[in-house]
Symmetry: C2
Subunit: 150 residues, 2 copies
Amino acid sequence: MRKVDRQRLLRNLIQTHEIERQEDFVKLLQAEQIEVTQATISRDIKEMQLVKVPNADEGYHYSLPLEKKLDVKEKLRRTLRDAYVTHNQQDYFVVIKAHPGNAPAIASLLDQLQSEDIFGTIGGDDTVLIICKSEEQAKQFRVFIEDLLK
Amino acid sequence: MRKVDRQRLLRNLIQTHEIERQEDFVKLLQAEQIEVTQATISRDIKEMQLVKVPNADEGYHYSLPLEKKLDVKEKLRRTLRDAYVTHNQQDYFVVIKAHPGNAPAIASLLDQLQSEDIFGTIGGDDTVLIICKSEEQAKQFRVFIEDLLK
DNA sequence: AATGAATATTAATTCAAC
DNA sequence: GTTGAATTAATATTCATT
Protein backbone atom coordinates (compact mmCIF):
# COMPACT_ATOMS: atom_id res chain seq x y z
CA MET A 1 0.00 0.00 0.00
CA ARG A 2 1.28 3.38 -0.95
CA LYS A 3 1.88 6.13 1.52
CA VAL A 4 -0.83 8.38 0.14
CA ASP A 5 -3.39 5.61 0.50
CA ARG A 6 -2.35 4.87 4.05
CA GLN A 7 -2.56 8.52 4.93
CA ARG A 8 -6.00 8.79 3.43
CA LEU A 9 -6.97 5.85 5.60
CA LEU A 10 -5.55 7.57 8.67
CA ARG A 11 -7.67 10.58 7.86
CA ASN A 12 -10.72 8.34 7.91
CA LEU A 13 -9.77 6.48 11.05
CA ILE A 14 -9.36 9.72 12.91
CA GLN A 15 -12.97 10.59 12.13
CA THR A 16 -14.46 7.26 13.04
CA HIS A 17 -12.34 6.21 16.01
CA GLU A 18 -11.02 7.73 19.16
CA ILE A 19 -7.29 7.43 18.55
CA GLU A 20 -5.36 7.87 21.77
CA ARG A 21 -1.93 6.68 20.77
CA GLN A 22 0.02 6.08 17.60
CA GLU A 23 -0.11 2.39 18.45
CA ASP A 24 -3.89 2.60 18.03
CA PHE A 25 -3.31 3.48 14.41
CA VAL A 26 -0.95 0.56 14.05
CA LYS A 27 -3.54 -1.84 15.44
CA LEU A 28 -6.40 -0.48 13.36
CA LEU A 29 -4.29 -0.81 10.24
CA GLN A 30 -3.34 -4.33 11.24
CA ALA A 31 -7.04 -5.13 11.36
CA GLU A 32 -7.10 -4.10 7.70
CA GLN A 33 -4.13 -6.34 6.90
CA ILE A 34 -1.83 -3.36 6.64
CA GLU A 35 1.46 -3.84 8.46
CA VAL A 36 3.22 -0.69 9.60
CA THR A 37 5.22 0.27 12.62
CA GLN A 38 4.83 3.14 15.02
CA ALA A 39 7.81 4.85 13.38
CA THR A 40 5.92 5.13 10.12
CA ILE A 41 2.83 6.44 11.85
CA SER A 42 4.92 9.05 13.59
CA ARG A 43 6.23 10.20 10.22
CA ASP A 44 2.74 10.24 8.75
CA ILE A 45 1.47 12.29 11.64
CA LYS A 46 4.23 14.81 11.18
CA GLU A 47 3.61 15.01 7.45
CA MET A 48 -0.15 15.35 7.85
CA GLN A 49 0.30 17.73 10.74
CA LEU A 50 -2.04 15.75 12.94
CA VAL A 51 -2.12 16.77 16.57
CA LYS A 52 -2.66 14.98 19.84
CA VAL A 53 -5.29 16.96 21.70
CA PRO A 54 -5.90 16.63 25.43
CA ASN A 55 -9.53 15.76 26.06
CA ALA A 56 -11.59 18.03 28.29
CA ASP A 57 -12.15 15.21 30.76
CA GLU A 58 -9.38 12.65 30.44
CA GLY A 59 -7.05 11.13 27.94
CA TYR A 60 -5.96 12.38 24.57
CA HIS A 61 -7.04 11.95 20.98
CA TYR A 62 -5.48 12.61 17.62
CA SER A 63 -7.17 15.21 15.49
CA LEU A 64 -7.10 16.83 12.11
CA PRO A 65 -4.79 19.82 11.73
CA LEU A 66 -6.00 23.25 12.68
CA GLU A 67 -6.09 24.57 9.18
CA LYS A 68 -8.35 21.77 8.08
CA LYS A 69 -10.70 22.36 10.98
CA LEU A 70 -10.88 26.05 10.18
CA ASP A 71 -11.81 25.06 6.66
CA VAL A 72 -14.52 22.74 7.92
CA LYS A 73 -16.01 25.49 10.03
CA GLU A 74 -15.94 27.78 7.03
CA LYS A 75 -17.74 25.22 4.90
CA LEU A 76 -20.29 24.70 7.63
CA ARG A 77 -20.95 28.40 7.75
CA ARG A 78 -21.56 28.61 4.03
CA THR A 79 -23.72 25.54 3.98
CA LEU A 80 -25.82 26.88 6.81
CA ARG A 81 -26.00 30.29 5.23
CA ASP A 82 -27.47 28.73 2.11
CA ALA A 83 -29.55 25.95 3.60
CA TYR A 84 -30.48 26.92 7.16
CA VAL A 85 -34.16 27.05 8.11
CA THR A 86 -34.44 26.89 11.90
CA HIS A 87 -32.79 25.43 14.96
CA ASN A 88 -33.82 24.47 18.45
CA GLN A 89 -32.28 23.20 21.63
CA GLN A 90 -33.89 21.09 24.30
CA ASP A 91 -32.12 19.18 27.05
CA TYR A 92 -29.15 17.39 25.48
CA PHE A 93 -30.39 17.94 21.97
CA VAL A 94 -30.10 20.48 19.22
CA VAL A 95 -32.13 20.17 16.06
CA ILE A 96 -31.19 21.99 12.90
CA LYS A 97 -33.72 22.20 10.09
CA ALA A 98 -32.42 22.86 6.62
CA HIS A 99 -33.69 22.90 3.09
CA PRO A 100 -34.49 19.42 1.79
CA GLY A 101 -31.44 17.37 0.94
CA ASN A 102 -28.98 19.48 2.91
CA ALA A 103 -29.05 17.73 6.27
CA PRO A 104 -26.53 15.00 5.42
CA ALA A 105 -23.91 17.55 4.39
CA ILE A 106 -24.44 19.49 7.59
CA ALA A 107 -24.24 16.34 9.70
CA SER A 108 -21.05 15.31 7.99
CA LEU A 109 -19.46 18.71 8.57
CA LEU A 110 -20.46 18.62 12.21
CA ASP A 111 -18.85 15.20 12.53
CA GLN A 112 -15.67 16.47 10.96
CA LEU A 113 -15.55 19.30 13.48
CA GLN A 114 -15.05 16.70 16.22
CA SER A 115 -16.61 19.08 18.70
CA GLU A 116 -16.11 18.30 22.34
CA ASP A 117 -19.74 19.18 22.89
CA ILE A 118 -21.15 16.65 20.49
CA PHE A 119 -21.80 13.04 21.31
CA GLY A 120 -23.18 12.20 17.89
CA THR A 121 -25.38 13.34 15.05
CA ILE A 122 -28.24 11.76 13.16
CA GLY A 123 -29.27 13.22 9.85
CA GLY A 124 -32.43 12.90 7.85
CA ASP A 125 -33.10 14.73 4.62
CA ASP A 126 -33.84 18.16 5.99
CA THR A 127 -33.15 17.69 9.68
CA VAL A 128 -30.06 17.05 11.76
CA LEU A 129 -30.38 15.90 15.32
CA ILE A 130 -27.28 16.69 17.36
CA ILE A 131 -26.93 14.77 20.58
CA CYS A 132 -24.70 16.64 22.95
CA LYS A 133 -22.76 15.32 25.91
CA SER A 134 -24.67 17.42 28.44
CA GLU A 135 -27.36 20.05 28.55
CA GLU A 136 -24.67 22.63 29.24
CA GLN A 137 -22.76 21.53 26.17
CA ALA A 138 -25.95 21.59 24.12
CA LYS A 139 -26.34 25.22 25.12
CA GLN A 140 -22.77 25.95 24.14
CA PHE A 141 -23.27 24.26 20.83
CA ARG A 142 -26.45 26.21 20.18
CA VAL A 143 -24.53 29.43 20.81
CA PHE A 144 -21.84 28.21 18.45
CA ILE A 145 -24.42 27.75 15.73
CA GLU A 146 -25.99 31.11 16.43
CA ASP A 147 -22.60 32.80 16.24
CA LEU A 148 -22.00 31.09 12.96
CA LEU A 149 -25.22 32.48 11.57
CA LYS A 150 -24.49 36.07 12.61
CA MET B 1 3.14 31.71 41.95
CA ARG B 2 -0.30 30.24 41.60
CA LYS B 3 -1.24 27.82 38.90
CA VAL B 4 -3.65 30.18 37.17
CA ASP B 5 -0.95 32.83 36.90
CA ARG B 6 1.55 30.38 35.53
CA GLN B 7 -0.94 29.18 32.97
CA ARG B 8 -1.69 32.73 31.92
CA LEU B 9 2.03 33.17 31.42
CA LEU B 10 2.20 30.02 29.34
CA ARG B 11 -0.54 31.42 27.15
CA ASN B 12 1.60 34.50 26.56
CA LEU B 13 4.81 32.60 25.96
CA ILE B 14 3.13 30.50 23.31
CA GLN B 15 2.30 33.66 21.38
CA THR B 16 5.70 35.26 21.63
CA HIS B 17 8.03 32.28 21.37
CA GLU B 18 8.44 29.21 19.27
CA ILE B 19 7.99 26.50 21.89
CA GLU B 20 9.25 23.18 20.61
CA ARG B 21 9.36 21.15 23.78
CA GLN B 22 7.94 21.27 27.25
CA GLU B 23 11.46 21.91 28.49
CA ASP B 24 11.37 25.19 26.56
CA PHE B 25 8.57 26.32 28.82
CA VAL B 26 10.60 25.27 31.84
CA LYS B 27 13.57 27.33 30.69
CA LEU B 28 11.53 30.39 29.80
CA LEU B 29 9.88 30.30 33.20
CA GLN B 30 13.26 29.90 34.83
CA ALA B 31 14.32 33.10 33.10
CA GLU B 32 11.42 34.74 34.96
CA GLN B 33 12.57 33.24 38.26
CA ILE B 34 9.77 30.72 38.23
CA GLU B 35 10.90 27.23 39.07
CA VAL B 36 8.76 24.40 37.71
CA THR B 37 9.49 20.98 36.34
CA GLN B 38 8.49 19.33 33.11
CA ALA B 39 5.90 17.29 35.00
CA THR B 40 4.01 20.43 35.95
CA ILE B 41 4.17 21.76 32.42
CA SER B 42 2.80 18.50 31.12
CA ARG B 43 -0.14 18.83 33.50
CA ASP B 44 -0.69 22.44 32.50
CA ILE B 45 -0.65 21.52 28.86
CA LYS B 46 -3.24 18.85 29.42
CA GLU B 47 -5.44 21.18 31.44
CA MET B 48 -5.16 24.02 28.93
CA GLN B 49 -5.54 21.58 26.05
CA LEU B 50 -2.47 22.90 24.31
CA VAL B 51 -1.28 20.87 21.36
CA LYS B 52 2.06 20.14 19.79
CA VAL B 53 1.69 20.88 16.09
CA PRO B 54 4.09 19.59 13.46
CA ASN B 55 5.48 22.49 11.46
CA ALA B 56 5.05 22.49 7.70
CA ASP B 57 8.80 22.45 7.17
CA GLU B 58 10.50 20.94 10.22
CA GLY B 59 10.15 20.65 13.94
CA TYR B 60 7.12 21.14 16.14
CA HIS B 61 5.58 23.96 18.12
CA TYR B 62 3.05 24.17 20.89
CA SER B 63 -0.12 26.00 20.06
CA LEU B 64 -3.35 27.27 21.54
CA PRO B 65 -6.18 24.77 21.60
CA LEU B 66 -8.31 24.33 18.52
CA GLU B 67 -11.42 25.79 20.05
CA LYS B 68 -9.58 28.96 21.02
CA LYS B 69 -8.25 29.35 17.50
CA LEU B 70 -11.71 28.97 16.06
CA ASP B 71 -12.79 31.73 18.41
CA VAL B 72 -9.94 33.93 17.29
CA LYS B 73 -10.92 33.49 13.67
CA GLU B 74 -14.48 34.36 14.55
CA LYS B 75 -13.40 37.53 16.31
CA LEU B 76 -11.23 38.44 13.37
CA ARG B 77 -14.16 38.05 11.05
CA ARG B 78 -16.33 40.35 13.09
CA THR B 79 -13.65 42.91 13.54
CA LEU B 80 -13.01 42.95 9.82
CA ARG B 81 -16.69 43.07 9.04
CA ASP B 82 -16.98 46.21 11.14
CA ALA B 83 -13.68 47.87 10.42
CA TYR B 84 -12.44 46.68 7.04
CA VAL B 85 -11.71 49.25 4.33
CA THR B 86 -9.45 47.64 1.72
CA HIS B 87 -6.69 45.10 1.30
CA ASN B 88 -3.88 44.47 -1.11
CA GLN B 89 -1.22 41.91 -1.79
CA GLN B 90 2.15 42.46 -3.38
CA ASP B 91 5.10 40.09 -3.29
CA TYR B 92 5.46 38.80 0.25
CA PHE B 93 3.17 41.44 1.67
CA VAL B 94 -0.48 41.94 2.40
CA VAL B 95 -1.77 45.29 3.57
CA ILE B 96 -5.12 45.62 5.28
CA LYS B 97 -6.62 49.08 5.68
CA ALA B 98 -9.20 49.55 8.40
CA HIS B 99 -11.06 52.35 10.06
CA PRO B 100 -8.82 54.49 12.26
CA GLY B 101 -7.88 52.84 15.52
CA ASN B 102 -8.75 49.31 14.47
CA ALA B 103 -5.46 48.13 13.05
CA PRO B 104 -3.87 47.10 16.36
CA ALA B 105 -6.77 44.81 17.19
CA ILE B 106 -6.58 43.19 13.77
CA ALA B 107 -2.81 42.76 14.04
CA SER B 108 -3.20 41.19 17.45
CA LEU B 109 -5.83 38.74 16.22
CA LEU B 110 -3.65 37.79 13.27
CA ASP B 111 -0.77 37.12 15.64
CA GLN B 112 -2.98 34.94 17.78
CA LEU B 113 -3.92 32.90 14.73
CA GLN B 114 -0.29 31.79 14.47
CA SER B 115 -0.77 31.25 10.78
CA GLU B 116 1.86 29.22 9.00
CA ASP B 117 1.71 31.78 6.21
CA ILE B 118 2.62 34.76 8.32
CA PHE B 119 6.13 35.77 9.21
CA GLY B 120 5.06 38.81 11.19
CA THR B 121 2.72 41.78 11.35
CA ILE B 122 3.26 45.49 11.86
CA GLY B 123 0.30 47.62 12.82
CA GLY B 124 -0.28 51.34 12.57
CA ASP B 125 -3.51 53.06 13.48
CA ASP B 126 -5.54 52.17 10.43
CA THR B 127 -3.15 49.87 8.55
CA VAL B 128 -1.75 46.42 9.16
CA LEU B 129 1.20 45.20 7.17
CA ILE B 130 1.38 41.43 7.08
CA ILE B 131 4.73 40.02 6.08
CA CYS B 132 4.29 36.50 4.74
CA LYS B 133 6.85 33.75 4.47
CA SER B 134 6.68 33.58 0.69
CA GLU B 135 4.80 35.14 -2.18
CA GLU B 136 2.81 31.94 -2.47
CA GLN B 137 1.85 32.11 1.17
CA ALA B 138 0.96 35.78 0.79
CA LYS B 139 -1.48 34.73 -1.92
CA GLN B 140 -2.93 32.06 0.30
CA PHE B 141 -3.32 34.52 3.12
CA ARG B 142 -5.01 37.02 0.84
CA VAL B 143 -7.51 34.34 -0.18
CA PHE B 144 -8.03 33.54 3.49
CA ILE B 145 -8.94 37.17 4.15
CA GLU B 146 -11.20 37.32 1.12
CA ASP B 147 -13.00 34.19 2.24
CA LEU B 148 -13.45 35.70 5.64
CA LEU B 149 -15.09 38.75 4.13
CA LYS B 150 -17.54 36.76 2.02
C1' DA C 1 12.01 7.87 -1.34
C1' DA C 2 9.88 4.73 2.22
C1' DT C 3 10.28 1.82 5.93
C1' DG C 4 11.50 -1.15 10.30
C1' DA C 5 14.36 -2.06 14.22
C1' DA C 6 16.60 -0.01 17.55
C1' DT C 7 17.40 3.99 20.04
C1' DA C 8 17.09 8.65 21.82
C1' DT C 9 14.14 12.01 23.14
C1' DT C 10 10.05 13.84 24.90
C1' DA C 11 5.93 13.61 27.45
C1' DA C 12 2.69 11.51 30.85
C1' DT C 13 2.04 9.37 35.16
C1' DT C 14 3.00 7.47 39.69
C1' DC C 15 4.10 8.03 44.11
C1' DA C 16 5.47 10.60 47.92
C1' DA C 17 5.47 15.06 50.15
C1' DC C 18 3.45 19.23 51.20
C1' DG D 1 -5.44 20.22 45.42
C1' DT D 2 -0.45 21.05 43.71
C1' DT D 3 4.10 19.80 42.88
C1' DG D 4 8.88 17.42 42.01
C1' DA D 5 11.60 13.31 41.50
C1' DA D 6 11.63 9.26 39.49
C1' DT D 7 9.65 6.27 36.36
C1' DT D 8 7.01 4.62 32.61
C1' DA D 9 4.94 5.40 28.34
C1' DA D 10 4.77 7.48 24.04
C1' DT D 11 6.85 9.59 20.23
C1' DA D 12 10.62 11.11 17.15
C1' DT D 13 14.79 10.04 14.96
C1' DT D 14 18.87 7.49 13.50
C1' DC D 15 20.82 4.14 10.96
C1' DA D 16 20.53 0.46 7.91
C1' DT D 17 17.95 -1.83 4.19
C1' DT D 18 15.06 -2.13 0.28
